[in-house]
Symmetry: C2
Subunit: 156 residues, 2 copies
């Protein structure tokens, strides 16, 4: 079960926020620059016919000894219940992968400019997928109150 | 930019479909079994207060020589335009990562049972995240017609 999987970043986040302040991310614009050694302008062809992209990136600034495998209070807030690392979306998680949806502003060759990506400058990107209605949750979303409180102000 | 990232699977898909037939996935139920060498029952604690989970898994059956970096017709259908690999969600992609949303049926210790995960039995799982309304696309989703046609019958 534990065979290692090797990923090669496909690109990097250029511009946007320098520090990981979790607030008001929709005010940020940045560009994902594909690795020119791997890709040409075919890789992003047609992505501009979609409004949103899902970006998979790597929380590469998190030290290994911060990774949590046990339950904890999200953001250390003891007003909220202790929940497992797979019941929250915090960055100190096994494999350090983030999945986030942002708005596509422009595709220019191997450069994808987006609004509202919650990744800081220099972040390695490992995949880009187009957002399709069909891949949204089937059925109504139910979630606990603490998660709504935690997300207040996150995007805007 | 190309520093390798190493992932360790957190678990594996048990049950569900044996072959990758892309149709009617919402009829399938399977269980994600966490790796007992890494996790105890704290890891999934509280996930049952969410209706849906986002699963990141590895298309481990795709041979390296099938990975596409250029534009192609989705599913080889020439009625649809050639688009780049990052403008489609097909499995023959760099880094072979999938992101998919499924319905949570049951959390039992280190076992998560779900409906509608489009992964076959034995698939390595690298992350589980709770689905929150706040992480859905901000603003209306726009996508090309071919993507709607491609998705017909995929879930049900």
């Amino acid at each position: 079960m534990t065979d290692t999987i090797m990923l090669t970043p496909i690109g990097v986040v250029d511009g946007g926020r320098a520090d990981p302040v979790d607030d008001d991310w929709d005010s940020e614009t940045c560009t994902i620059v594909l690795d020119a050694a791997q890709f040409d302008d075919q890789a992003l062809m047609g992505l501009d016919t979609f409004s949103h992209a899902e970006i998979i990136f790597h929380f590469n600034k998190v030290p290994a000894d911060k990774i949590t495998k046990d339950a904890r209070h999200p953001r250390g807030n003891t007003d909220w219940p202790r929940v497992g690392i797979f019941a929250q979306r915090g960055k100190n998680r096994p494999n350090l992968l983030a999945v986030s949806v942002c708005e596509i502003l422009k595709v220019d060759g191997t450069r994808l400019t987006v609004r509202g990506l919650d990744a800081i400058a220099g972040t390695p990107v490992v995949d880009i997928k187009p957002v399709m209605q069909e891949f949204q949750p089937r059925g109504a979303i139910k979630q606990p109150d603490w998660s709504h409180e935690l997300m207040k102000g996150y995007w805007s």
